[in-house]
Symmetry: C2
Subunit: 394 residues, 2 copies
């Protein structure tokens, strides 16, 4: 219903579009930008000059092309100079990265996370890592903001973690605490790890150009980042995508959420390890060990993988009927389970999903691997800058 | 990634925004339009003049307001003059309407539909009704296009019905056949009945202002129209929302789709009538009779309603976890079942859905009743006009 924009709004919109283009696609010639953005050469020149003056892009000669004629100048994002901090709070580890404009990981740290440690204990650990990374930031660099990925349900507006069962967190003000710890006046946004991984894979991973996708992220818990019609499905409060609590087995096992027979109880790490007779173990290494053992012919491991693969296909078929996606991506430790049961999953999908809903669906593993959450968190941090570059640039 | 629009694109965008505003909100004063669209008085005046010249709106004095001062002119959509045809192919009936700009039902016909009649037989029936309505169209009226709602899976791009189990249709070119029958050069678009009912309730029904909603439409089959972040979730090919084929009961009854234990097998009309010991009956009257009998204390009817209500809550809880909606609407004959089991459904939802996902969800019946599909089909027909009024106006 909004009316068309004013002249000044258009200029800002164009600045954002140009900056977003080089952020996503990397170095781009003026000629390409003219075509991609549908603007004339002089407008592209003026916009580039504004962004360069703000220190967000540089302009220079292209690498040798071997073609004759005067080459078009190339616009590059200031990846070494303009950066965001990206943090990821996962079940068993904490990750932190410094990410340059254009999605370049400039620095990265990782540490084991003691089991179920509180937010009050987690925030100082992350703040310390950020401080450590800060020491090697070159002079003249520009910090635009921070993004945090967390395995839990996050209230979009303020980064309150409403529930993170596997961390034992309930209504914890993660956004507020981290903003206090990190200080500074730049924004800090918090998002769910599956949502942010989906965003990263959609922006610069396996799902580039794919506007309807489901990223199923699994470790102990299961969640999905869903993109429909090119836009994230976040729901009313930001809690959409809780596919792990879709009940698939009405008389199934009790789930940590209070319900019973949730998808998570059939395909989460506990389910696989229990089925393999290894219920005392936990974590990515234990999951990988079961998958490896199945590959080597261990009968109980094979049964476990088959059983979980069956339920994995079951839930995916439901989601395919509901969303008619082009791609389903399996991340976290679910990646290994998917790879070990792909054929079976596909046959379950064919049996259960409607032909029209599944006919174009591709099943994939993430391209960005463990970096997806950090890169997605960085996308969150860059969003304000990309929407309105001159207003958000410090 | 698109760059900002040109001057001419902005003018068209503004014309569309103004026309859409009065289409949705009805007669609106220039003063209100200025505020709502964020444009100045002279721009609103110029846009209104253009739309009036194209015969899409009129401008005139408001009704007496009782307030002092010179009243602001009021812009009205040309509801009597600019119209679309809307058709709805339902399990047991065919509906046809002539709908004026602004969503006004100018004329409406309805007929029983013989069971499972083919597309080749259905299209001439609809064409005949349209022709009949045509006879009473005033001179000088302007036809902008047609929209069709159908209970089935529809390919967005050309209106091919991929599957409509309860009509026995598989890959039937409904759009093409109807375009041939109706003739003319205006566009004709086809959509799923649940998708279009959701669109209508979102535009001018119970879900106005509500950007995350699920409209569960049920008769023999079950489907949903889903709106997330204010935009319809259609999926890659247009087949999203097939929630009736979400499996809720792994060892349940065989479903017409080839799978087993689909939600439809537990909450569709067959399930209710079977549970009530009335499996020989079918249709809205039979459903209503069971619900009435339950209200009068009939034990087997009560059991049937309770059982279906239980499964209704089960599936809604799954959808609430997946979408975190603000509203779930129950349409078709499911409306009666919902009303008879609302308390039970809510308690099932509270037990199964995550607190954050369900905390703001309202359960509702449609406001537009049986007109929702026709009004939604008309929205589809008006879409092109509203996107670019001068280009689409005949």
């Amino acid at each position: 219903m909004r009316a068309g924009p004013s002249q000044e709004e258009i200029r800002r919109q164009n600045l954002g579009a140009l900056l977003r283009y080089v952020h996503v696609h990397g170095a781009t010639s003026r000629t390409e930008l003219t075509t991609a953005l549908g603007l004339n050469r002089s407008t592209i020149g003026a916009l580039t000059a504004d962004l360069a003056a703000a220190g967000l892009v540089t302009e220079g000669a292209p690498r040798e092309t071997g073609r004759a004629g005067r080459p078009s100048l190339v616009v590059r994002p200031e990846s070494e100079r303009v950066y965001a901090y990206a943090l990821s709070i996962e079940v068993d580890r904490l990750r932190a990265g410094r990410v340059g404009l254009g999605g370049k990981l400039l620095d990265q740290r990782e540490m084991r996370r003691p089991h179920a440690v509180s937010i009050a204990e987690t925030a100082p650990l992350l703040a310390a890592v950020v401080k450590e990374m800060q020491e090697s930031v070159p002079d003249g660099s520009v910090y635009v903001g921070g993004g945090v990925a967390v395995c839990g349900m996050v209230r979009r507006e303020d980064g309150m973690v409403r529930l993170s069962p596997n961390s034992g967190w309930l209504d914890e003000p993660l956004g507020e605490v981290l903003r206090g710890q990190l200080g500074g006046d730049r924004p800090l946004a918090v998002g769910n790890v599956a949502d942010l991984s989906a965003l990263a894979e959609h922006t610069r991973g396996v799902a580039v150009g794919c506007d309807n996708l489901i990223y199923v992220y699994g470790d102990v818990g299961i969640g999905a980042g869903i993109i429909a019609g090119g836009r994230p499905v976040t729901g009313h409060g930001g809690y959409g995508g809780e596919v792990g609590h879709m009940v698939v087995h009405p008389n199934g096992r009790p789930c940590g959420c209070g319900s019973r027979g949730c998808w998570e109880t059939e395909i989460g790490e506990h389910a696989l390890l229990r089925a393999a007779g290894r219920e005392r173990l936990l974590g990515p290494d234990a999951v990988l060990a079961v998958v490896d053992a199945a590959g080597r012919g261990d009968a109980s491991a094979q049964t476990a993988v088959r059983q979980v693969g069956e339920w994995l296909g079951f839930g995916v078929a439901n989601l395919v009927n509901i969303f008619n996606p082009e791609m389903v991506i399996f991340g976290g430790t679910l990646r290994h389970v998917y790879l070990a049961s792909a054929a079976q999953l596909r046959s379950r999908l064919n049996a259960m999903a409607l032909a029209a809903c599944r006919e174009h669906v591709r099943l994939r593993t993430p391209k960005l691997g463990n970096d997806a959450a950090l890169l997605g968190a960085a996308e969150l941090a860059f969003e304000q800058l990309l929407s309105d570059p001159l207003d958000a640039a410090p």
